[in-house]
């Protein structure tokens, strides 16, 4: 099935399993490492992404962005995080307290569960489920549950409206996102993320699948931007209409949970796009050109993954700071009248390509 299985995938859960017969403590140590590294990665990456977003946004708008804290404001995110931790934690009067406290936890939990599946390099992955793509799509729905609960329990009309918009948006665009994920899954013949990466050893699906892979990638980027509630699809938290949307009533630590999960979700969506369409940690290979492939192998897989993910993150930021926000009806029209028919057609075309083995370098 896989022509060049040059890389051996060893996940942290594999290591913990392997260590279990010999030493229980070593196994527990691996588990703790997985938990600690995921949590640390999440918080550090969140702060870094906030800084990058602010800097990129500033320069897209002829500004400079944070410049005071540290060299070119590099410590601004740290200062903001400390400020958020020290802020008063307000709970609105007559709010549903239990759900109000649970909502940010749901959001962060969904983000964490998706993050452990991302293959960052052959050795940097916590769990490698054989239903990886389905799992990530399913867990994404858990995140929007957090948003809905947050909006509902706040006892605030803006929060409720924002949450309802988020729910409608998620349900609509999830269809398109699954259709575009299915194209990559069809090409790779597997739902396991590491196998999807390894199936791209001869070339990435974005260009091996003729035009089909490219269209699937574009649909994925648009639909994931909409699912992340990022501009130009940021209706759930449209400042000019809903003050803050679903997190209007949240402050301090709880707000930072929502904020963090939003930015890490952006990373997860970009990493998923890179994994499915741009080859994940797999270096840029062209089937048959062994010399060229050997040169590309000199760059370690982790760097390839970071580069591809960074490219998609930059793309979403670029879109965010260029286009104005859509109206609700325009948003729905784009999905149901344009992206959905396109996605279905694209899926049929991809299936035909696979049946006739007419894509580049068939497996």
């Amino acid at each position: 099935m896989i022509p060049h299985a040059g890389y051996e995938v060893i996940t942290l859960s594999d290591r913990a399993n392997a260590a279990l017969p010999e030493s229980l403590w070593l196994s527990i140590g691996y588990m703790l490492l997985a938990v600690a590294s995921t949590a640390a990665f999440m918080s550090v990456l969140g702060m870094a992404l906030v800084y990058v977003e602010r800097k990129v946004a500033a320069h897209f708008q002829c500004r400079l962005g944070p410049m005071r804290v540290g060299w070119h404001g590099i410590l601004q995110s740290v200062a903001d995080a400390i400020k958020l931790l020290l802020k008063e934690d307000l709970v609105p009067d007559r709010a549903d307290r239990l759900l109000f406290f649970l909502a940010p936890a749901f959001s962060v939990l969904a983000t964490l569960l998706a993050l452990v599946l991302i293959p960052m390099s052959p050795t940097m992955q916590v769990v490698d489920l054989n239903i990886g793509v389905v799992f990530i799509a399913a867990v994404g729905g858990f995140g929007v549950l957090g948003i809905l609960l947050g909006g509902w329990s706040s006892n605030n009309k803006w929060s409720l409206l924002g949450a309802m918009r988020a729910g409608a948006q998620f349900v609509s665009y999830e269809v398109s996102i699954i259709l575009s994920l299915l194209v990559a899954v069809l090409f790779a013949g597997s739902l396991q993320l590491s196998e999807i990466v390894q199936s791209q050893a001869d070339g990435w699906w974005i260009w091996r699948g003729h035009i089909s892979g490219f269209i699937a990638f574009i649909i994925f980027v648009i639909a994931s931007t909409a699912e992340l509630n990022r501009p130009p699809f940021d209706l759930p938290e449209a400042e000019s209409e809903l003050t803050g949307g679903y997190h209007t009533e949240y402050s301090g630590l709880r707000f930072s949970f929502f904020f963090l999960s939003e930015f890490i979700n952006m990373f997860i969506a970009s990493a998923l796009g890179a994994t499915l369409f741009l080859g994940g940690w797999m270096p840029f290979h062209i089937g048959g050109l062994d010399g060229f492939n050997a040169v590309m192998d000199l760059i370690p897989p982790g760097v390839w993954f970071a580069g591809k993910t960074g490219f998609i993150i930059f793309l979403t930021m670029w879109v965010r700071w260029t286009f104005p926000r859509l109206r609700v009806d325009q948003l729905m029209r784009l999905e149901w009248k344009f992206l959905l028919p396109l996605g279905f057609t694209n899926l049929m075309v991809a299936a035909c390509l696979i049946l006739t083995d007419s894509y580049f370098f068939p497996l």
Binding site: V56, A58, H59, F60, Q61, C62, R63, L64, M67, W318, V319, W321, T322, F323, F338
Partner: protein, 235 residues
């Protein structure tokens, strides 16, 4: 498409109100008409316009010279305000250091909220009216520019000084004239006539920054009438 190209329009003549008038009928919504091909062209044009927008913002990102933000306290020495910035009002002097203002009072009449208070006096030599005190209240000024537009002698201007913040509101009352006495035009006229220049110059009294009490409630003070009193009742 929002923009209409008149060359694409149909040139006809219509009878309007009994007159034959040449009319260009603008093409209506050419690209979004029905049909698969037209629809596809419309979508591709829309995508192209999106890419155009992205190209513009990318140009801003890669060219640091487009940044307009000023790092203010650091570049304080080199920062130059643009010419049309309305900083603070000042009286324009001619080359010899004599003001152009002759106390004609137009600016005070033009001021919509009484921020300018003029006091004029009779010159003891020439027996003409001239400026004694020019008091400008920054705290109530709205920078509407009406005084400068009203000035018939171009004697008023804005400085580009933007650091006007003070800790006491009473410091926002300024006396703009440096002396009380004849304007530059009166001195020039005397020079032309060749007599009485030194006597005229001797009538000037130096004026410094406004030092009197400030009527924050608008009440009258020596030399400054109450806010809202007609200018005829000036002290």
């Amino acid at each position: 498409m929002a923009l209409i190209n008149p060359r694409l329009g149909k040139q006809t003549t219509q009878s309007i109100g009994g007159l034959d008038i040449d009319v260009t009928v603008a093409p209506r919504n050419r690209t979004s008409s029905s049909g698969f091909v037209n629809r596809t062209i419309f979508i591709f044009r829309a995508l192209l316009s999106l890419l155009k927008g992205m190209k513009i913002t990318f140009g801003y990102l890669v060219r640091p010279s487009t940044v307009v933000t000023q790092q203010y306290p650091e570049n304080r020495d080199t920062l130059k305000m643009f010419d049309r910035f309305r900083g603070q009002l000042y009286l324009i002097d001619d080359d010899n250091g004599y003001m152009r203002c002759n106390g004609c009072n137009f600016c005070e009449l033009a001021c919509p909220n009484g921020s300018i208070i003029l006091k004029s006096r009779k010159n003891p030599i020439s027996n003409t009216s001239e400026l004694d005190r020019y008091i400008w209240r920054l705290d109530s000024c709205t920078f509407c520019n009406a005084c400068i537009q009203a000035c018939p002698h171009d004697a008023l201007g804005w400085t580009q000084d933007f650091e006007g913040a003070v800790y006491d509101r009473r410091l926002l009352v300024f006396q703009l004239n440096k002396y009380a006495g004849p304007p530059s035009i009166a001195i020039k006229r005397a020079e032309k006539k060749g007599e009485g220049v030194e006597e005229l110059k001797a009538t000037t009294i130096p004026r410094t920054r406004y030092e009197g009490k400030v009527p924050l409630a608008g009440s009258a003070l020596p030399g400054v009438p109450a806010l809202g009193t007609p200018s005829k009742e000036k002290l």
